[in-house]
Assembly symmetry: C2
Homo-oligomer: 258 residues x 2
């Protein structure tokens, strides 16, 4: 952006991340597409891109940077993926180490950055449609296998929301408009049918009992590729930390009509 | 399929292609997703998959087979991509040679087959909605550059239809439901705004004059990756011959809700 021009909310959020003053990104820069980040070595790039193609609902790829290039030139020109997220997770041999707020010193010439659409993107559209997004929401493992590619494999991870029947129908229609941010739900109703693990969510406390007037609705989740990358036990993988997404310049409403 | 089970229309069409009795596929096995085919050597697979990711409207990838495997196990298990299309185009160093109806003798262990969604898929949905698909339709080059990836680059190729204003609006809504088969139009109105070449369509005669009561509507076209692969002047590329697509087992209406 030119120096005399006010930054957009997305640009400002990235600058705040660079300055170390941005936290979790839910509710930040509403209206802009948020992304999950996966950084891998180039030798794994084809296998991972193939894994994403074979599991598009969970892994809708929005940009693949050239090897060694930390700038997502298509969806956020000028940004730097080494500094413009507020928190990073670093996996070595499949084990998550200490989180970082900057990965400049880890970046190498053979690193390839993948940006993958996040379901946070349609939260605002759900809110506008009267579907609450700030409660009754969990990230759960399932027993549904993803389609493997090379070293990448694993089970689908889902986002579950508890909604009224009317909200479930509205949420299905609204999210279907965002096919590159996980799109419509993958399941509705009985969690056991997809083997959703209610006792050990990926984050937070056990789910507990479903109120009798609500119905569980499940979306493919952007944590799926992280789980696949973990199960591949590769030497180094860097991702966004959960709930600390990368904010792109894509407009959610513009992008929702592919 | 088991021997005592009647083949689906898609399976029958593939068997007919194998037997050499299938011609062009427009109107064949209606309701099943049709695909464009691109076969390349493995060394080019990552660059081409990246090219498709960067140009998703023109190149929506539905399956990438493993190297050396001619069976699309996910979208048409049991099929053989060396025999189950009715006609193939073979490019050597970017020059198209004689068409084939079988490529078994050209297939090598390092060949990777890509299946890419075709706009033919939503013809039936357009017909059902009262939008004619059998006339006023051309494939045109434009001056809109695609996003390059490695050796692959070139301009967008579009399908143009002449429609009444009401049909144009209906066709936009109907095709938007098929984001993995090119989705909604990329342009409506003045062909000059995208540099569409009306004098030399990719196939057939010059377009001629637009009737005053019709409006041109333009979709990203599955010929785009062929044009890109041609401009990359790679040693060997095999594709479907125009209008002779691969018919998958995917149901168009099921698949349209991603």
């Amino acid at each position: 952006m030119s120096p005399d021009k006010k930054p957009t909310a997305a640009q400002q959020a990235r600058l705040d991340a660079r300055d170390g003053i941005l936290g979790p990104t839910r509710g930040v820069a509403l209206g802009f597409v948020q992304c999950n980040l996966v950084i891998l070595r180039q030798e794994l790039a084809y296998e991972f891109l193939l894994y994403c193609q074979r599991n598009q609902k969970a892994c809708p790829v929005l940009e693949v940077c050239d090897a060694g290039d930390p700038e997502p030139r298509r969806i956020a020109p000028g940004a730097d993926l080494r500094t413009d997220l507020s928190r990073y997770a670093v996996y070595k041999n499949g084990v998550r180490g200490k989180d970082r707020d900057d990965i400049s010193d880890l970046w190498e010439d053979d690193h390839v950055a993948f940006l993958i659409g996040s379901g946070i993107t349609f939260d605002e559209a759900l809110d506008r449609a009267g579907v609450p997004t700030d409660q009754h929401r969990w990230v759960l493992r399932t027993t549904v296998p993803t389609e493997p590619a090379g070293r990448f494999h694993g089970n689908l991870v889902v986002t579950m929301r508890w909604l009224t029947p009317a909200q479930a129908l509205t949420a299905t229609q609204v999210s279907a408009r965002f096919p590159f941010n996980h799109g419509a739900p993958v399941h509705v109703g009985d969690p056991a049918q997809i083997g959703a693990d209610l006792n050990q969510p990926v984050y937070g406390d056990p789910v507990g009992d479903l109120p009798p007037d609500l119905v569980p609705v499940f979306w493919a989740c952007g944590v799926t590729p992280q789980a696949a990358a973990e199960s591949a036990t590769i030497d180094l993988m860097i991702t966004h930390a959960p709930a600390h997404g990368f904010i792109s310049d894509l407009r959610a409403d513009e992008f929702c009509t592919p």
